[in-house]
């Protein structure tokens, strides 16, 4: 279970503090932490989504260092996690990569910290993921989150993680919690 789930970390289109649509910069820790979570839960793949040429090159350099470069010998567990990371220029490009591989339409799931009128809970989505014949692409926003257009054009919007009156988890922590809720052992 999990290999029909792909994760996209979206750097564009993203809201900034003033709710303007921007492209955010890639954070090195996001790539490492999310790659490790994706590997831990057996995901099909992890797409870093950014249209900016400088950021694409940065991510590709990070991956190369740990997968082929001196990093691979220094820390083989990073090689194992980062070898499943790839860069896409847009959400649609990541989606196409998955649908080409599966020869099927991909179900898109958007996430966010704010409630959405038509959201799906963790348990129902966990059950849907049990259908191993259907590929899913779950999208996480950086900055101030995914745009409404991205949410409204997704097949599902996942319910937010409810905090005790505080709703500001780093995307790295949200990914860890959400993947565990969707795919982790229930003990």
């Amino acid at each position: 279970m999990g290999s029909n789930l792909y994760l996209g970390l979206v750097h564009h289109p993203i809201y900034d503090k003033r709710k303007e649509v921007v492209a955010t910069a890639v954070t090195n820790f996001d790539v490492h932490d999310i790659a490790r979570c994706a590997r831990t839960f057996g995901l099909g793949g992890f797409f870093v989504i950014t249209p900016l040429e400088s950021q694409i090159q940065l991510v590709e350099r990070i991956i190369r260092h740990w997968v082929e470069g001196t990093g691979a010998a220094y820390n083989p567990t990073r090689k194992e996690s980062l070898s499943r990371v790839q860069v896409s220029r847009s959400i649609d490009e990541a989606d196409r990569t998955v649908s080409d591989l599966w020869k099927k339409k991909v179900k898109r799931v958007a996430t966010g910290a704010a409630p959405h009128p038509q959201s799906i809970g963790f348990k129902p989505l966990r059950q849907l993921l049990g259908d191993q014949e259907t590929p899913f692409l779950i999208l996480f926003g950086t900055g101030w989150g995914l745009t409404w257009e991205v949410k409204d054009s997704s097949d599902y919007v996942l319910a937010p993680i409810e905090g005790r009156g505080y709703n500001h988890l780093p995307v790295r922590s949200a990914v860890a919690i959400i993947l565990d809720r969707l795919l982790g052992d229930r003990v």
Copy 2:
């Protein structure tokens, strides 16, 4: 729920790659991400545990910047999370801070990626935490993990998060998942 749980991020005593006992350096992202998770789940407090004077000063400077400095106005949600962080020189010092506050013996819980002969599962620990009269201190190791002495002298050792043949989560992700399993809404 959660306010009787305190978290300690341990930088000494810690194993390094060769299983020698060392003091690790503090990672800025650990402080921020774990502070946000601790705030999200309503923990009683978060101790960064290090005996190194340079590291103590570093953490205190980070906290001051975001709680009192220019950072407080720039990003109030960081002020809110970091105002619950404090530095302790040892596990015992953190433990004493909690027991002085509660006038009670603190139950210690160690965590780690490796299985331990006498571990407690997530569900039983979740139930124990429901006893709001008892303070708990949950310890997370950095580097290559908590020493056996720390584990063996704890009241409980929590079961590891089981990955799909991969057991190398960053401590930041492990904290997020474990706090959610112990205190998160079950939806």
